[in-house]
């Protein structure tokens, strides 16, 4: 049985090595690709300084949406009730994008403006990202910002 045992040891060694490599790759991948969700208040408080790219969540401020007449560039303002942040985006906005709706934009800060590479709007009339709902709850409680029904109706 000795050769068999040796083979088993080699096999187990290989397995452990593979698992170790996979685990370290996973940890590295996680650390590189976590994208935090921040509200305008948090960004203005300097919390975004650590991140190359992050997600900005909030409501689209009414009257702030401005399309460029010659391109797909659009700028709007995202608010959490306390503070606002201007956002610049080039591309097609989602179906449900409109004023007073919750959005999550992915991108980075560039001189006081959030340059978004992707904009997601809430998914349907009753959907609101849970994380965003929590992040904004405090601000809303203070300022009575009109919130759409955030709980799916049972």
């Amino acid at each position: 049985m000795r050769p068999l045992r040796r083979r088993r040891i080699v096999l187990i060694g290989l397995i452990l090595g593979a698992v170790a490599i996979a685990t370290s790759a996973m940890v590295y991948g996680l650390s590189q690709n976590m994208s935090y969700l921040l509200t305008p208040s948090q960004v203005l408080a300097g919390k975004a300084a650590d991140y190359r790219s992050f997600r900005l969540g909030g409501m689209v401020a009414p009257g702030s949406i401005a399309h460029d007449p010659h391109s797909l560039q659009v700028d709007f303002t995202v608010t959490d009730g306390d503070h606002t942040l201007p956002v610049l985006y080039t591309g097609i906005l989602p179906d449900l994008f409109r004023a007073n709706q919750a959005v999550i934009a992915t991108g980075h800060m560039q001189g006081g403006v959030f340059v978004a590479s992707e904009v997601l709007a809430k998914h349907d009339a009753t959907y609101m990202p849970r994380e965003l709902q929590q992040a904004m709850a405090q601000a809303h409680a203070k300022h009575h910002v009109v919130m759409p029904a955030s709980e799916p109706t049972p």
Binding site: R7, G29, D95, H123, D124
Partner: protein, 666 residues
Amino acid sequence: MIPELGQMALILALLLASVQALFPLLGAWRGSSALMRMARPAVAGQFVFVVLAYAVLTHAFLVNDFSVRYVAENSNLTLPWYYRFSAVWGAHAGSLLLWVLILNVWTLAVAMFSRRLPEAFVARVLGVMGLVSVGFLAFSVLTSNPFVRVLPAPANGMDLNPVLQDPGLVIHPPMLYMGYVGFSVAFAFAIAALLGGAFDNLWVRWARPWTNAAFGFLSAGIVLGSWWSYAELGWGGWWFWDPVENASFMPWLVGAALIHAQAVTEKRGGLRAWTLLLSIFAFSLSLLGTFLVRSGLLTSVHAFASDPRRGMFILMLLGLAVGASLLLYALRAPKVVGGKPFALASRETLIVVGNLMLVVATAMVLIGTLYPIVGDALNLGRVSIGPPYFGPLFIVLMAPVVLLLPFGPFARWGHADLREWKRIGLIAALASVIGGSLFAWAASGGMPGWQAWLGGLSSAWVFAGVALYARKRWVSVPAGRRFPAEMAGMLLGHLGVGIFLAGALLTNSLSVERDVRLAPGQTAVVGGYTFRFEGVTDVRGPNWIAHQGTLVVTRDHQQVTVLHPQKREYSGDIVQTKAAVSAGLFRDLYVALGESLGAHGAWALRLYDKPFVRWVWLGGLFMALGGFVTLLDRRFRVAVPQTDESMSTPTADAQPITPRAREAGA
């Protein structure tokens, strides 16, 4: 009155499920044949009542009975009948009922096709499936009753979520659930084997066709889901590493590992404990998938029909099922070691390596999917983990699987012939470098990018392996016995991997996407195709009005196609983009309508040229086909009579595995 009948049917089904769970298990334990014989009638009875409940709910949808709250919330008068039919599973309560219905279909099939298995074993299998059924029926009856009335009844209902109003979604959930729930059969077989202490390899042979069927359905379900999100969501992608997608992908990965591990256990007796563990994992991940999608925990962009209050129940169910089965495993599995020894260079080793990579990939997906939830719960901040994490890691983890895939069929059980490997490796490498490069070159129409290269090389590598093995069988085995169903299924599945690799990597590399602003009469060029925008008109459907754009696509002044992307507005101000796709085997042209920009009839448009995107789904369908073809193998007729012919050979289960079958592929 009729909805109350559905309610009663559901409760009766729950009672019968309890009977099916308790008495056969008790009978198997005490050796009481009378108790064990209660299993099949209970299965049949429960099936009848679940079908009745389901039919009642469907009826309520078809006749627009808005006094049923679930109907009022998910349908309305203008909804076409076929979407009313599929709206039954459009939200939580109904999709749960569909889950239970499909579980009953599987249980009935097991009860019917298991007449030649030992009585105690069947009793345990049906008992375990009864336990699963009790859990889900109780869930339905206690927390998510679809028959609750709303009084006074509204005159009209709300609407089915417009995203779900698509032919793809009529068949996607049933297919997916067939796969999810199908793993409950493999699970029940494993638990029955553990309970009974019957550690011969027979149970694996009985379980294999069921596992392959479930894998086939799950593959088909995932393909349909991917195709639907591509066609419906207007983002032009076929996979987003979205938590809901991951939820269905994890059982698939483990299922892929399981069907290979089962082959080892059946034929060589090895990896018994591992096969048992994978059976438990596959079903646990199916439950986890159900939990993730239904609990409302996910912030997925397409987590429909979710309700946080019900999450607790599924979590408990999940904890109970996983905890109890793993405990049983811990108590019993150490006794099951055995099987023939194998050398380092053998088919077993290849399968172990493949299994390991698939399981590690599952863990990778699981961690990426759960980390945001756990991180949020532990106040580590609200994070999201996107495709940049999953994509590269998945490619790295699957690379060894793809690399070893051509060798698998050639490797003998126990001890492989290394000289043959060398020869195969050399030929496949040559084919891969020359054929793959040419393929990538032709597909790219010039110097290919690295992903296109990789797609060409890897798919040619896999194709070469499959072709070489098919040729070997053709040359060395007499006609009629060349490709038994199990082997044909394996070859089809592996071929599917190759097609998928080509599709995924080529389409990722070669797709061209452009967001443009076009006024009527203006043109845009994408990937060699000229899109001329003809403006937008209004059209009306049964329950929507839409802006419909018209685009004429030309290439070299030849008209290729005319596309009509829509932006539909459903009742309740819900806007839904309906992309227009011109599908082809080698390229898709895809247009989504953005928004209206100003007074001159200008619109934002998203234009795509997507070469080879169909291959992604074609590959998945081949894998599904492989799973189904394997079912037809004669050896499995012991457990699953496929034809009348096998019914007339009652001694089949007494036959030993034939040498041909045992050495199939060696």
